[in-house]
Symmetry: C3
Subunit: 201 residues, 3 copies
């Protein structure tokens, strides 16, 4: 029979358990964070969405360059179309692969968004993008350190991906990014594979 | 070097860890619960779906009012179309934002469902709704305390959301709700934002 | 007031906590594993996808029979169309119901995939399938012990499920399975309910 553990040994095991408990909490918080982002974007709640970014968080979508810092992210988001009667702007947040370093307070996540975008009487589109995002624990809360959406396709609802394929939007009217795009690509019909933050799971 | 902790101190840390372990288990159980609901609805397994509700659980979908108690939820579900050859009734359960109070045994969750609904030779529709649900631990198992689906849009497959927008169904043939709708709205093409159970994540 | 616990009692509670911490980690790893599979399939990264299977893992999709062992899974995957310009081969991995036996190192999971499949200038399809998968911890990492995709529907984008319903593909050109299909069925417009690995959640 094993000898009784010492107090020091128990303490060591408790400390390891506390680190593991934190990792489980961090997972749930990052899951909630990215899902919350999607609900705010759906409805054009740009200030609520911007609040989810870290103070020096960055945003990069399609080929429009990088916006640096929460203030610039907010400015970018406010240049998107408003949510109002006739608008569908759904960005469903799906399929997370999350790797979290709880001790460091940092995380990376691959997600995808299925998009239903359109305006009654105007354009209607399906779209799908991969996100490769980073997160950081800031003042005790997880925030988005970088959001990078790589568009796999946009297509007109009436065309589908077997006929369609809308070119990437490469700029935002009246707004200059802080940095050029970090990843050069064309969306469907060109093949595109968003970089992976992991090699193995 | 810190002095050795006392037995009482270790016990206190263990008790906190036990509460945190329970919270992690609760998260997984609520995730499974809502996902299971979706699989049962897809296939018209109404009794299995009703069994997931608490004894006094409620259900409210679209503008059809509130059904109170598991028996009434069951009755409502049995008024939905049966699953059979030619039917697609998919209700994918997506994008959870979960806040769980493990000690109280209660939880709230925002989800969305992407719906593919139709009947071969008849109507075919896309739909999308936000859920704001509550959960409760009852007899040691998590159950749905209230399921509230707010429809963002239904549209005919052949029209899309840029031309379409089917009006909310405001009643169920042959069945009266127990309470009027808790939230008055119109779906697309009217703008609608389902209330949030949280202000911050 | 309760008497002080003994060292043995504390040790017992710590051991239980360690098992519960492992279960939380296993959940996150299986979540990541299945999501990673989807991202690799999207982009025709067949070797990366095959690496996610256990050495004696199996794969069974639609009515094409069972491929046994990682080498055969790899061979099957390499018979799928390559990802290249003009291809959309999205397999979104959604709605997990996971039951994990951490001590045994085994797990079962129900998922669904929403598929967008097509080739520019050729066919374009929506599809949706249920997975009933098993997982195993092998050399300290979770791997797919069996992946079984039961197709609910494929339909031509231009037809929708209210007119469409493409018959199951029952073989793979130039490749024989190791075992016949484990579950005989027809997809939409025939009704199909994938078996459940659970009776209650």
């Amino acid at each position: 029979m094993a000898s009784q553990p010492t107090m020091g040994e128990l303490l060591d095991r408790i400390e390891k358990l506390e680190a593991r408990a934190l990792a489980a909490e961090d997972y749930r918080e990052v899951m909630n964070l990215q899902a919350a982002y999607g609900y705010y974007v759906d409805k054009g709640m740009w200030d609520k969405a911007a609040d989810l970014f870290a103070q020096d968080g960055t945003l990069e979508i399609a080929g429009r360059g990088v916006y640096v810092g929460q203030d610039r992210v907010r400015e970018y988001l406010h240049h998107l179309p408003p949510y109002q009667d006739g608008t569908i702007y759904n960005h469903m947040q799906l399929q997370p692969v999350l790797h979290i370093d709880s001790e460091a307070g940092t995380a990376k996540g691959r997600w995808r968004t299925l998009m239903m975008v359109g305006f009654r009487g105007g354009e209607g589109r399906w779209g799908e993008a991969t996100y490769e995002n980073a997160y950081v624990r800031e003042d005790g809360r997880w925030r988005i350190a970088s959001l990078h959406g790589i568009i796999n396709f946009y297509c007109e609802y009436d065309e589908g991906w077997h006929r369609g394929g809308v070119a990437l939007l490469r700029s935002t009217d009246g707004l200059q990014p802080d940095l050029p795009p970090s990843f050069e690509y064309e969306a469907h019909p060109k093949a595109v594979i968003a970089p992976f933050h992991y090699d193995e799971v």
